[in-house]
């Protein structure tokens, strides 16, 4: 590979809500040449094909408007995804960030040097600070180890939304949605918009995760998909219910929703340490990864949160990046890993911040594997309890819940990992 070598001040990979917000903020703050790379032909990220509303409403500590707004209608709060995307793109451009679409960061040629491919050729771009904002994807059928034949008609929400909203493609006639997360409802809405009959929403959870449910959507709880059937086209989905019964739902389309995994390939190829829980880069409250000068924001860090949250992270990264550019950055390495015990799945950020830095909104985001009614969360380090708190609401799988960061300044910098348990 040969390629032109260039230098910029800040290089941002990914022009979704997180990357665009980071670019806008940094360009406006006079960070020098701020360049955002986007591999798609159009910038904007996932919201480009989320034709429901619910984007960019009031975003503050209630960083969760998205999930609770996903009832029978998506259009209650904020604007639609595409207009949100357009707005974010315009804001980044107006602030002076250079946006380059159709350009993919394919790998690393040095600690802060990325290799890129685009129609104009190959490049090696070195930056004083790199921000990874590569987003997340839903696990497809293979990754979920769903057995059966491999007929057409099997989608993730991402593919479904693009097919319907960006390409106007024909889907099928009868669909099953697998999953019970906010995105599952987005899938149901897209199917509805495409005129596809929704046979059922299927979840292996016994209690539906969402409080606000669409009463018109038939929901089957406690059911696991055991097989996909059909040859030239999907013909059915076999289920096993918790009580041992088995059924087959006749359908020609199935949408596998949720079960997000960060798009961490570029991060990993750069040798960045990952958090085993989130599968995104391990990071601290200043969005620093294990690689000096490389920051990470958005769904890459913790899989799916709402767009406003990702954008907020993008804005938040500006301060530590500016410190880096000014040479006033806290030295890395002082942070302690934060680990969780089952049934907790992960926590983000998962490294304690440099002195004085609290995570966004002054709280950590967590996920659980199973439902915990009013969990008691205990934070400890080397056997010393730092904090204990009973949450007021239930923690449910597939939805984030939060732990205030009050204890962060009690962490011993010379101690080992901080541990979070829940009961």
């Amino acid at each position: 590979m040969t390629g032109k070598a260039r230098e910029v001040d800040v290089l941002i990979v990914g022009a979704g809500p997180a990357g665009l917000a980071a670019g806008a903020e940094l360009a406006a703050a006079g960070a020098g040449r701020v360049e955002i790379l986007e591999r798609e032909q159009e910038a904007g990220g996932i919201p480009r094909h989320c034709h429901h509303g619910g984007f960019g409403g009031r975003v503050d500590r209630s960083a969760y408007a998205w999930a609770s707004a996903t009832g029978s209608t998506y259009a209650r709060r904020g604007t639609t995804g595409p207009s949100y995307a357009r707005r974010s793109v315009a804001a980044a451009a107006a602030a002076g960030a250079a946006l380059r679409t159709g350009v993919t960061a394919t790998g690393w040629a040095g600690p802060r040097t990325l290799e890129t491919t685009g129609p104009a050729g190959l490049e090696r771009i070195t930056a004083r600070a790199v921000i990874l904002a590569t987003g997340a994807r839903e696990r497809p059928r293979g990754a979920r180890l769903i057995p059966g034949t491999r007929p057409p008609g099997v989608y993730t929400t991402g593919e479904l939304q693009q097919a319907v909203h960006l390409y106007g493609q024909r889907i099928g006639t009868r669909a099953v949605v697998v999953g019970d997360e906010p995105v599952s409802h987005a899938a149901a809405a897209t199917l509805h918009a495409a005129g596809v009959h929704l046979v059922a929403v299927v979840t292996d959870r016994t209690a539906p995760a969402l409080r606000l449910r669409n009463p018109r959507v038939p929901l089957l709880t406690g059911a696991t998909v055991t097989e996909l059937m059909g040859r030239t086209r999907l013909s059915g989905v076999a289920l096993r219910h918790d009580d041992g019964r088995t059924t087959t739902l006749r359908c020609d389309t199935v949408v596998l929703t949720g079960d997000f995994v960060p798009d961490h390939e570029l991060a990993r190829r750069g040798g960045i340490l990952l958090d085993p829980g989130t599968r995104g880069p391990a990071y601290d409250a200043a969005h620093r990864t294990s690689l000096p000068g490389v920051f990470a924001v958005g769904n890459l860090l913790h899989a799916v949160e709402h767009a406003g949250y990702a954008a907020q992270e993008g804005r938040a990264v500006a301060v530590p990046v500016l410190h880096r550019l000014a040479g006033t950055e806290e030295p890395a390495g002082g942070g302690r890993r934060i680990v969780v015990d089952a049934p907790l799945r992960w926590i983000a950020p998962n490294v304690t911040g440099p002195d004085g830095t609290r995570p966004q909104g002054d709280r950590f985001v967590l996920r659980t594997e199973r439902r915990l009614p009013r969990p008691l969360l205990v934070v400890s380090q080397d056997g010393r309890e730092l904090h204990r708190q009973r949450l007021r609401a239930a923690a449910v799988p597939g939805r984030p819940f939060h732990l205030p960061a009050d204890w962060a300044d009690r962490v011993d910098r010379d101690g080992t990992a901080v541990r979070i348990t829940a009961r």
Binding site: T104, T117, P119, Y155, T156, E227
Partner: protein
């Protein structure tokens, strides 16, 4: 160069006595395509027909993609010979045409004393198969060469020439060269019945009658049925399913060689191997079935493979899975190929090409050519086929998205459509306009890798389908 490729309507071979082909090959898998390519070197009217809408759509699309040395074949068998010859032929052909192939070598890992004790016997068997480069290595060397191997490995037989190859480009290369050489390819053309008189076979196909003087049966899993249409009852094909799990490219550094088990009474067993696409493969299972269409995976199969895989390379199990698939081997109850010529019938049956057909394909092609001569075909002098260059799908070679000169000449090669596999618009456009274009998005995937990566379409599925549909008449 006139290319004849039909996918619908009645079959009209141009020229010839009342539209009769000299030779017809039934089955456009890797074997049938290799036979057709061999026939293309002669001035013959040849047809290659398949029931599916694409070439290589049967067993040939779903295997472990290893270019075997044949070190463990049954010495003296036809299979042993054809695998040995086929390996050399295909390795050379791959280099010439750009079919991705990597000589990564295999290690037969011994996990207990019995297996360790079996290694010298396997080395001697390899020698009897004409393969002399294998040697036994101890636990320490094994660990140095495969540091991610699970605990407890005692030693291994090193087979440095076992290679990995692209299973999709291989039949496509054969078929492309065949049709460019004048062979007629008829798809969606299932043979339903055969009537035979003194000098012609009349095949009743799903697209009408087809007449041919000579006939080659390379129908894979259905070779026994086609054989019965000619009045024989010599062999029965029972499908033996092999399920496989494909791990993400990020797992590739965990495995350097093809890690084979020491074969036991239960067959060849489960292997872990790199793929030319830069993934890691775990499998296959071996399940005797009676349904020739049972190409689905099962929960039991996946569980079984994961258990085996955990033993071989524990860290593999933490990696994301890209895909799960299954293929059916054409077992016939005999430990050898069932290739048989019938002089009176001007017919060659190519059955029972079980688990080595990809490797042996070119040698089978040559062998069948000889048998056709033996049953009365006068092929005339062979001529060279025009050279062929296949699109480079191999991760170990410079892919178009990394090729500055190529992109400078045509920016479409720098425009990525499938991000996980880094497939460019240029490659997709080329495949859609190629000699044998795909007839489904899956066919396009086998020609370009588009939509075959870790996201399986989350990002690019709709875009790839749109490109495919634009091209469809």
């Amino acid at each position: 160069m006139t290319v004849t490729l039909t996918t619908a309507g009645p079959l009209h071979p141009d020229g010839g006595a009342e539209g009769t082909y000299d030779v017809t090959v039934v089955g456009a898998g890797v074997v049938g395509a290799a036979v057709a390519r061999e026939l293309a070197r002669h001035r013959l009217r040849t047809a290659l027909i398949d029931a599916a809408d694409d070439i290589g759509d049967g067993t040939s699309k779903a295997n472990t993609a290893i270019l075997h040395t044949g070190f463990d074949a049954v010495p003296g068998s036809l299979e042993a010979r054809l695998v040995r010859e086929g390996r050399d032929l295909l390795a050379a052909y791959a280099t010439e045409t750009g079919i991705p192939v990597e000589r990564v070598g295999a290690l037969l890992v011994a996990w207990d004393e019995d297996q360790l004790a079996a290694l010298p016997g396997l080395r001697d068997k390899a020698a009897r198969n004409g393969y002399h480069a294998s040697r036994i290595i101890d636990a320490e060397e094994l660990r140095a060469r495969e540091p991610h191997l699970g605990p407890g490995a005692l030693g291994a037989l090193d087979v440095p020439d076992e290679s990995i190859i692209c299973p999709w480009t291989t039949p496509l290369a054969f078929a492309t060269q065949a049709v460019r050489g004048g062979v007629h390819l008829h798809l969606n053309c299932r043979v339903l019945d055969i009537t035979t008189d003194a000098d012609t076979h009349t095949l009743t196909t799903s697209r009408g009658p087809l007449r041919t003087r000579f006939l080659v049966n390379a129908a894979g899993l259905h070779a026994d049925e086609v054989d019965r249409l000619l009045g024989h009852d010599v062999f029965t094909v029972t499908p033996r399913r092999g399920q496989l799990v494909v791990f993400d490219k990020l797992a590739r550094p965990l495995v350097s060689h093809i890690l084979l088990p020491v074969p036991g009474p239960a067959g060849k067993g489960v292997l872990v191997a790199p793929t030319v696409f830069g993934n890691v493969l775990l499998g296959p299972t071996a399940e005797e079935l009676d349904d020739k269409t049972a190409t689905g995976s099962t929960a039991d199969g996946i569980r079984f493979l994961r258990e085996k895989g955990r033993r071989i390379v524990p860290a593999l199990l933490d990696e994301e899975v890209t895909a799960v698939y299954a293929g059916l081997r054409a077992a016939t109850g005999q430990e050898d190929y069932r290739i048989q010529e019938y002089p009176g019938l001007r017919y060659v049956a190519v059955g029972g090409i079980r688990s080595t057909g990809l490797t042996a394909s070119m040698a089978i092609g040559r062998h069948v050519m000889e048998l056709l001569t033996a049953v009365g075909l006068d092929p005339g002098e062979p001529h060279d086929l025009p050279p062929l260059t296949m699109p480079g799908l191999g991760e170990a070679f410079t892919r178009p998205y990394r090729d500055a000169a190529l992109i400078a000449g045509d920016p479409a090669y720098g425009t990525l459509v499938c991000h996980c596999e880094q497939v460019s618009l240029g490659e997709i456009r080329d495949a859609l306009a190629s000699t044998i274009p795909p007839h489904s998005p899956d066919g396009l995937r086998r020609r370009t890798r588009a939509r075959g990566g870790r996201c399986q379409g989350f990002y690019c599925g709709a875009a790839v389908r749109a490109l495919f549909e634009e091209e469809r008449p």
